[in-house]
Symmetry: C2
Subunit: 423 residues, 2 copies
Amino acid sequence: MSEVGELMQRMGRDARAAAAVLAQSDGATRNRALRAAAAALRARCAQLLEANAADMAAARAAGIGAALLDRLRLDERRVEAIACSLEDIAALPDPLGGIAADWTRPNGLRIQRVRVPLGVVGIIYESRPNVTADAGAICLKSGNAAILRGGSESLRSNAAIHACLLEGLKEAGLPPACIQLVPTGDRAAVGEMLGNMREFIDVLVPRGGRSLVARVRAEARVPVIGHLEGNCHVYVDRDADADMACAVVVNSKLRRTGVCGAAETLLIDRAAPPALVRAVVKALLDAGCEVRADDALRELLGDERLKVASEEDWRTEYLDAIIAARLVDGVDGAIEHIARYGSAHTESIVTANAAAAERFLARVDSAIVLHNASTQFADGGEFGMGAEIGISTDRFHARGPVGVEQLTSYKYVLRGAGQVRPG
Amino acid sequence: MSEVGELMQRMGRDARAAAAVLAQSDGATRNRALRAAAAALRARCAQLLEANAADMAAARAAGIGAALLDRLRLDERRVEAIACSLEDIAALPDPLGGIAADWTRPNGLRIQRVRVPLGVVGIIYESRPNVTADAGAICLKSGNAAILRGGSESLRSNAAIHACLLEGLKEAGLPPACIQLVPTGDRAAVGEMLGNMREFIDVLVPRGGRSLVARVRAEARVPVIGHLEGNCHVYVDRDADADMACAVVVNSKLRRTGVCGAAETLLIDRAAPPALVRAVVKALLDAGCEVRADDALRELLGDERLKVASEEDWRTEYLDAIIAARLVDGVDGAIEHIARYGSAHTESIVTANAAAAERFLARVDSAIVLHNASTQFADGGEFGMGAEIGISTDRFHARGPVGVEQLTSYKYVLRGAGQVRPG
């Protein structure tokens, strides 16, 4: 076995042993570790920034682009935000031990479904060092051991943050293997996590760009939680209030363009009053958004600022101030377009017509469907679930925001008085 | 692409289209299909038995063993049982459309988590023709399209049962592709389901012997629900009532020896009164069970009927009237043995000591843990969940009995009044 293979097997065994300890730990102990880690992050801020400066210098020398450099960069404000995020996770309700269901059978057997951790969670991510803290903390909160594999360009920053997490674990008397960081940038480590650690990893969570997520989903031999893309839609119905439609569309697209819940295609009812159509498109254009429209919409509006949409645009997640736009035949036309081109992430309808809204909500088969609200609410925090590790577009195990509760499993506990099964 | 490859792709596309129809169907329609299928089974009983007789003749000619022949065989009583089972599934509560959670955020957004089907379920099974009806019906009840691939030796019987299911679908106005049967015995079809139908199959359920399940779990490129083995334990504590211990142990082992919830290893507290130890082991021996004991137990009892247990016995799922037995150091010794050798399926403790019981229930990490009750309660019907498609020893998505509710996913439905996300 290769050196990296041996390293990863050892990390897997250690994670499995730590998971057994975590499964029996109480919530207060896990919260103590999180709060102590936050304190350590604040106390060691200078060392953290030093480690990050070394990562930044190496990245610059390697000619890495500005966007990636910004994701990699830490400053005092960002370190403080990471520390606060750990404290927020500590403040969440304990997802473990709760009784999700409780019933008694006619023979007197009492059955309870009790929440337990999943076990060991592997996280594969790219350049943002804050994921080291966030993902480690979400796993710890939910009683799962974590194996973190960050981008090689942020290795020093990740190690400095990980040292703070270890300090928290130590203070709470928990084993260091509760949160492990893969200590090498060797890409073979990712291959090991995907293919050779079925015995040790219960679920993998990829956090990063499309190519990373696609690789993990294609190659992983263990379950994966995550989404490949968020090609989200807003549909403006004939019965939409114009002001509300403008506000929801502009917010859905432009509040942040880089998040997975950002709208990428605008669908407008062909039967909508032209003034409504014009108002919505103008609001986007005036806010600085590029609008790529189909022929019918361009003809209707005759606005020279409109660009031409191609078939490819309906499938594109821009993650930028660009939106595809077209007229559709009412709510059923919108449902059909979304079924054909959508990625089952998040879609919203704006309408004052309750029947149209209910039809859309029932028939659009996405993780999150909204009526009269921005697609940018697709976020665990906005759901009131606290920190999330991602949004799942899968249907298996977890769909939509994946918070601490979605990282749990359950067991059945049956209490009897000597019952035996007849027959 | 091979002929089988093309066939399976076509079946996958048809299943996906049918799943979209099922997702919008109401429970009454799906129940109507199930009841009409039951009626068709009764009406066509003679044809069914004829098809089965042809399968039996071919199997006999191929020199197939008696156990398999019995599993393959249908008679009027068995056909009636299949029909009744369809009606029982129709009578279960509708697992779809229910609101699993409902809350309102401070900004007024109302969030509901609504149950929806998983999509398309692939079932790979062996020689029992009743699985065709049961598995198809459980999928239909939960709004999932099913692709059924039974054993080639039961192809004629399965096709005859499938024809009745199609009659039920037709009567209810549902597309025939809601339940499809792979019409060929070509083993390549299984390979297609495992490896080339990710786009079309949301989850695979293997139902059969260990080698089938192992192959599916090793090769599947889609999620799998199922269990590899049920190496279940009963632990008799020092504080167990002797009569209860004997009853629970004998029932756990011998009520049916071929089910996955049958006990395979008996653990007895080293500190238990010798009379209790003797009573439990004698009860098994007198009931005709072979007992393979460790040295300490054999020395304590000096009973010549005891066989010698080897290391291998602790890992063996006998599915027969054989049990491995040993003394352990109290409840912690039992927990340790189970962690080392168990398959995380079902384990029971017999004791009058509440603290020992709670320790066992909390620390044994199995899908089902019981106090003072037989392991043979490991069954969806006994849980009150109705028909089950299997028992899962996985931690992801579904653990323990997998009934109609476990074959569902959910979506989030948000209703607002024009909310946009700040910041």
